[in-house]
């Protein structure tokens, strides 16, 4: 699988570390219940098909990226620097 890093260009996935689901938004520390934290920290779907994930270009620019990809075909739809993604999705990534 090749990831087109917005800074470094296309690189193979061995240069990256994966963190996982990018659709989770950190709960408000003052209001969150134990259930909110459970969802945020542990609960993960295991979708077949489209997925949005955080990847870290560890052996490259060392930046966090949001990668939209397909878990079946390994097709990568889009790659955006996580900090730019936050600007256009201030509420977090939505499913």
């Amino acid at each position: 699988m090749r990831i087109n890093c917005p800074y470094c260009g296309p690189r193979p996935n061995e240069e990256f570390n994966v963190l996982g689901d990018a659709t989770k938004t950190r709960p408000d520390a003052d209001k969150a219940t134990a259930q909110d934290w459970l969802d945020y920290v542990y609960e993960r779907d295991n979708p077949k098909g489209r997925l949005e994930e955080y990847w870290h270009h560890a052996s490259g620019c060392r930046n966090w990226l949001v990668v939209k990809r397909n878990t079946v075909t390994h097709e990568v739809y889009s790659v955006v620097a996580a900090r730019d993604y936050k600007k256009t999705h201030p509420e977090g990534v939505k499913k």
């Binding site: 800074y7 470094c8 690189r11 193979p12 240069e15 490259g60 620019c61």
Partner: protein
Amino acid sequence: MPEISKNPKRLSPLENIALPGKYGAINNETPGVILSVCPARSVVSIGARKNMEAKVSAVFKKQYALIAPKPGRSEYTKNLAVHWAGPEQWYVITNSCEEGTLYDKLAKQFSGIASIIDQSHGRVTIKVSGRNACDLMAKGTPVDLHKNAFTKGCCAVTEMAHITVHLAEIADDEFEVSVFRGFAESFWQWLTEMSLEFGYEVK
């Protein structure tokens, strides 16, 4: 008590490992690859603080008459090399001053707008040249090194032999590849083994 030298000399981790000579498939030809460990130099990293990129660029322009290198680019002045090292991050390298001098200077010039870290002791740089230099580098990195894609003035942060490296093409078919000091020996082992087929000379 051991005697402490008054003039300590920086020792390369490749001091007794990168030994001058000719190795591998040389036959009667000249070696395809020439490797040399760069002498101890000053390496300082600059990381622009939040929203300070324009100010950092202005200091580069005013103090060094150069453009802060864009992703994958290097800029050179008479005494300095400046390599892109990540978004809003650069390495500044020089051979032409005493240890610590470059850091002191940059820390003043970029005070308040960037984080300045002296990495001189942390990195080892190897110069790779010769007619097979590009072939050798291409064995390590997935970065496209074809002349149409990667030329003098280009650089990349990438991986070779599972080791993160900074790669720069400093002249046509002449590369500088730099690794963290602790990885220098493993990296050298890989580099020399990969050079055997071309024949290589250590200078």
